[in-house]
């Protein structure tokens, strides 16, 4: 048994080694679990929308609940103008949620516990939102960095601060998700290791902790997916409705 709590985050390639130039693009366990995540979501939606009845069955009800949950989240935070972006936010939310939940299964791999994965998601959102902002408002989108009612002396300082604040968005978005997932899974593994090393006499206390932590982790897995999606909505709202 691997006692090092960090071995669970190791990425290794499975299958043949594929290389283009200097970039290694072989299929890894991380890619495998991303495929599993996407497959699970697709299968769920294909199955649940196959028999469309007026009175929904269990599967259809669940699919409708997810739809309504995300639709309500978007209309509450970003308003009506954000409707066209619903498919993107739904996919994003479900990808993060299912990836987190798949990671909760013992011996599986948590895709979102790697900063490069969460940063890629967050950076894509950041670029997309910036482009949407410039398309909607043109060059006046830069007014986002110049709040009204600031004395001229302070303006250069405020503009620099606003730009830093804007640039820190993808970092805070990605670091939050990655840190939560990694810390949680490391903690679970550490307590699991305590159970083994303390044995039958003292192992009961860490075992209890492990059970409690598993519950907490499932909560965190949902919560982080929710926060990730809702912050995307908030950033989208800033891009769609320029107000300062």
């Amino acid at each position: 048994m691997a006692t090092n709590p960090m071995t669970q985050f190791e990425v290794y390639s499975i299958g043949p080694k594929i290389q283009i130039g200097n970039i290694d693009i072989s299929f890894t366990n991380s890619s495998l679990f991303m495929v599993i995540t996407v497959a699970l979501i697709s299968i769920f939606f294909i199955l649940s929308t196959q028999k469309k009845s007026l009175i929904p069955g269990k599967m259809q009800l669940l699919a409708e609940m997810i739809y309504e949950f995300v639709a309500k989240m978007i209309s509450d935070t970003a308003g009506k103008d954000a409707r066209p972006y619903f498919p993107f936010i739904l996919s994003l939310f479900l990808f993060v949620l299912v990836a987190n939940m798949v990671g909760m299964i013992p011996y599986s791999f948590t895709v979102t516990s790697h900063i490069i994965v969460t940063f890629a998601l967050a950076f894509f959102i950041f670029i997309g939102v910036t482009i949407i902002g410039f398309i909607k408002h043109g060059i006046s989108y830069l007014k986002l960095f110049v709040p009204s009612g600031v004395p001229a002396v302070l303006l250069p300082l405020i503009v620099v601060i606003e730009i830093i604040s804007y640039l820190s968005r993808p970092i805070s978005l990605s670091v939050r998700l990655f840190a939560n997932m990694m810390a949680g899974h490391t903690m679970l593994k550490v307590f699991g290791g305590f159970v083994v090393s303390l044995g039958i006499l003292g192992g009961w206390l860490p075992l209890g902790f492990s059970v409690a932590l598993t519950g907490l982790e499932i909560l965190v897995a949902f919560l982080q997916a929710y926060v990730f999606a809702i912050l995307t909505c908030i950033y989208l709202n800033d891009a769609l409705h320029l107000h300062h």
Binding site: L157, V160, I161, I164, S165, L167, S168, R169, I171, S172, V175, R176, A179, N180, L219, V220, F222, L223, Q224, Y226, V227, L231, I234
Partner: protein, 89 residues
């Protein structure tokens, strides 16, 4: 019939209370995580900008120091803004 009504009344007493508590707990955990990462991210980004500007302009280590403090200011500002937004909801 009466039994069922009694039962649902009894159940009603429990359900809303429980539900409220859960949502309150989850959102406060979410708020705590949001605020902390907001504070840290701004400092990191600003320090990074300072570091690379220093490398580019060969002014080590002044811009790093300046930008570190700017980042700290931004982080605090972000936290204040986020908590204002949360309070509004």
């Amino acid at each position: 019939m009466k039994d069922i009504k009694d039962l649902s009344k009894k159940l009603e007493k429990f359900i809303p209370k429980d539900k409220k508590e859960v949502t309150k707990n989850t959102s406060s955990l979410g708020i705590a995580m949001r605020l902390s990462s907001e504070l840290v991210a701004a400092v990191f980004v600003a320090s990074g900008i300072g570091y690379y500007l220093d490398k580019w302009l060969e002014t080590k280590p002044f811009l790093l120091i300046v930008f570190f403090f700017l980042g700290a200011i931004t982080g605090i500002l972000n936290v204040v803004r986020t908590s204002k937004m949360i309070n509004k909801d």
